[in-house]
Symmetry: C2
């Protein structure tokens, strides 16, 4: 058991609220600050991608007894539905029978998490802008504007769960020996919407993640409980097939008619939503260290913001909390060593999911429409079903297992090299499930 | 000819002052701001590595008529003197006969550059802290402290020449789509000193860069005009053979007696200097973009801070000015396209010198004590002397030519692959200058 501390958490997002619940249940006093209003009191929409919850995130919720509460507002998703042409939809199951991920509306989930944290006894301070933290004392500075008056609040420990543009990290970044990088993709995204049918039912299969892969751009859709889908259009900011090219209503309608003709019926408010909703940016942010002595620590997007293409932003952030909780069990009151072990053990794994997420844009936007890629997935699934002890596909390692991300990435790369060899086999299209192929895979696996 | 503008330059270092001279000579009004006092009025010492000036830097000085002024305070350096043991000093010439680089004291040179800029009509504002710039208007904000009162000054264009921790870049970094990275080496450095002999002469050969390579740490020395040498000790911050291990006078003296016994006579103030001078950090910083419309631009360390192991920090910064000046000749008053072309054409080259500089720590600290490496250098020099049209060693391309850094890096990598093959030849030690080796190099060159 830990000695109770007075802890500030900056950020009332998904990671901030779940961390607050963990720390409160350990007996600490927990104050959560957010510069925005209480999400339960505002209309939250227009700039979010639906979230995907999978095993790592579920584990962190389950360990603190919140699994059922959260899965109750999620929709199970068992496959990709790949809209390759007007009438052609290919399906690709994510895992084995019964293995699903959950589609969650960010707004809905965040409201639920604030409720749950409040019920657990966490205190929230909304519309309180934290601009600075003293790394030696964990004291935070709060004020209306960056250049205006600030007042201070003292804490024993301050956590920065304040996202990709974290102010807590901003302070840490001014130290010597602080490594930092931010890299923007030339891909932006915009939220669109598929409303429910008049009877409240979903217009498309709600248990699939729908993708319209079109090379350097794509549309995707994930279901909400109210019968609607949240859609996200990903495309370059400028250049060919880009947001820059879609300046007028006519250009937009023509573009969708050409590339996504089958969405005309299901996205009735295309023009209104497109020009009303902002175009958002995608950034990969890495830094190190994440902590300062026993006083200040970063968690979630504040120390490892990733692009959304593996659906692991929230899962990775929640897994940070699992790792931190393991360290609390291991070190008790020794917060300095606890935080040190947390950042060192976690860093290689968040670097790995950053890499996997970055690579997955090409997989989703272009490879899902590629025959060779689909054949590879088919062979992997067939071999894995026959030899589950010998082969777990990369997606399953990342999403349906708790294997550290860095190990999943390394094994995935090895498996990919094997599949490259297999796909070179002459006439592989017709003998992909033959004994010859099976034996060759086994041989290549043993040659490791 | 350009229309005269009112231009602010933030930073009165080497790049800021040279840029000011260029812009003043073009007819602009130029105001240079610096948060520090006038370097001519203070005692500048204790935390600098001596500078090395070579062809790229000389070209930028020459084009504005300052070559002689600057070379007058420099000392020609023609070779590395590699102190491998107490009595063994290996020599390695940098280039062909007459090819030299120049050792310059940073303080001395910076004072001279401020003098020269003032003579050219540039106005200096010292002890004026610029905290912010408005990217849309180029207006700068100045004040005593970051959180105190600020006043503003209007300009047509503002240049950030304010070094690795640039405030101008700090503002640009808050934009979307701004890529940025800072990576610290776990190598620190400390200034030491070899005083002149009583007769004012140098204690070591002044026309050599002296290195004591010791694996993961090294000492180096570069001559000053007053008979002294500025020495720099590079070593890890922590771990084996590190600054952390040298906490007491006894530890320090014993360490130097063990690893640098031949320096005992020439560094009399070791203990005093070591504990008086700070341990400094080494960072590689990259970012993009460097400019904002026709209003704000970064230059020198402010947009590409590199580690000092190739001796190209100042040369790369001065070459930025050459490139900018070429763009001024090309675009005239079209500052938006001028700055755009400047950043796009320059960026791959500053990335390349960052990479070359990073690699060169291992070359200096460890490879210079390696027989195989010295043999490779000997073969390259021999072949290059015989076939100057076919082979220019990488160091010469970087230092004694104006070839873009990115091309030099690419060709250097190709040459290195060839030398790897050559060094595999059996008994190469004894036939390194044979016809067989000569023909093999020619053959490998043609196989490109």
């Amino acid at each position: 058991m830990q000695t109770p501390k007075k802890i500030a958490i900056v950020g009332s997002g998904l990671v901030g609220t779940l961390l607050a619940i963990y720390l409160k249940k350990l007996g600490h006093t927990v104050h959560v600050y957010d510069r925005s209003p209480d999400i339960r009191k505002i209309n939250f929409s227009g700039r979010s991608i639906n979230l995907v919850l999978s095993d790592r995130g579920i584990k962190a919720l389950k360990d603190v007894g919140l699994e059922d509460e959260v899965l109750g507002i999620g929709i199970p998703v068992e496959k990709r539905a790949i809209h390759v042409g007007v009438d052609t939809v290919n399906e690709q199951f994510y895992g084995k029978d019964g293995e699903v991920i959950y589609s969650l509306s960010r707004g809905l989930l965040n409201k639920k998490m604030v409720d749950l944290a409040e019920q657990a006894g966490v205190d929230f301070y909304f519309e309180q802008k934290v601009w600075d933290v003293d790394l030696n004392t964990a004291t935070i500075s709060i004020g209306e504007t960056e250049r205006g008056e600030w007042f201070t609040k003292d804490y024993d420990i301050t956590f920065g769960a304040d996202g990709a543009f974290s102010r807590i990290r901003h302070r840490m970044q001014r130290q010597s020996m602080f490594n930092y990088s931010q890299e923007f993709l030339n891909i932006g995204y915009k939220e669109l919407n598929i409303p429910a049918n008049p009877d409240g039912k979903h217009k498309l299969n709600k248990n699939a993640l729908h993708i319209w892969p079109r090379g350097n751009f794509m549309l995707m859709a994930l279901a909400n409980p109210n019968g609607s889908f949240t859609c996200t259009l990903f495309m370059p900011h400028d250049g060919e097939n880009s947001f820059e090219e879609l300046k007028t209503k006519e250009q937009l309608v023509e573009f969708f008619a050409k590339h996504f003709p089958d969405t005309k019926e299901v996205i009735p408010n295309l023009v209104e939503d497109f020009f009303k909703n902002p175009t958002s940016y995608l950034v990969t942010m890495k830094c190190f260290p994440w902590t300062f002595s026993d006083k200040v620590a970063l968690i979630g997007d504040a120390c490892h913001a990733i692009v959304p293409f593996y659906g692991h932003g929230m899962n990775a952030g929640f897994e940070d909390i699992t790792v931190l909780n393991n360290m609390i069990e291991k070190y008790g009151d020794d917060w300095a060593n606890l935080l040190n072990d947390y950042e060192n053990s976690r860093k290689p794994n968040t670097d790995a999911i950053a890499e996997l997420s970055y690579r997955n844009f090409m997989e989703m936007s272009s490879k899902t429409a590629d025959e060779k890629f689909l054949l590879q997935k088919k062979i992997e699934k067939w071999f894995s079903d026959k030899h589950p002890d010998k082969w777990m596909p990369l997606y399953s390692r990342v999403t349906f297992s708790l294997q550290p991300y860095s190990e999943a990435l390394a094994i995935g790369d090895f498996q990919n090299k094997i599949m490259e060899e297999i796909l070179k086999i002459e006439n592989i299209e017709n003998k992909w499930n033959s004994e010859e192929v099976e034996n060759m895979i086994i041989q290549l696996l043993n040659s490791k």
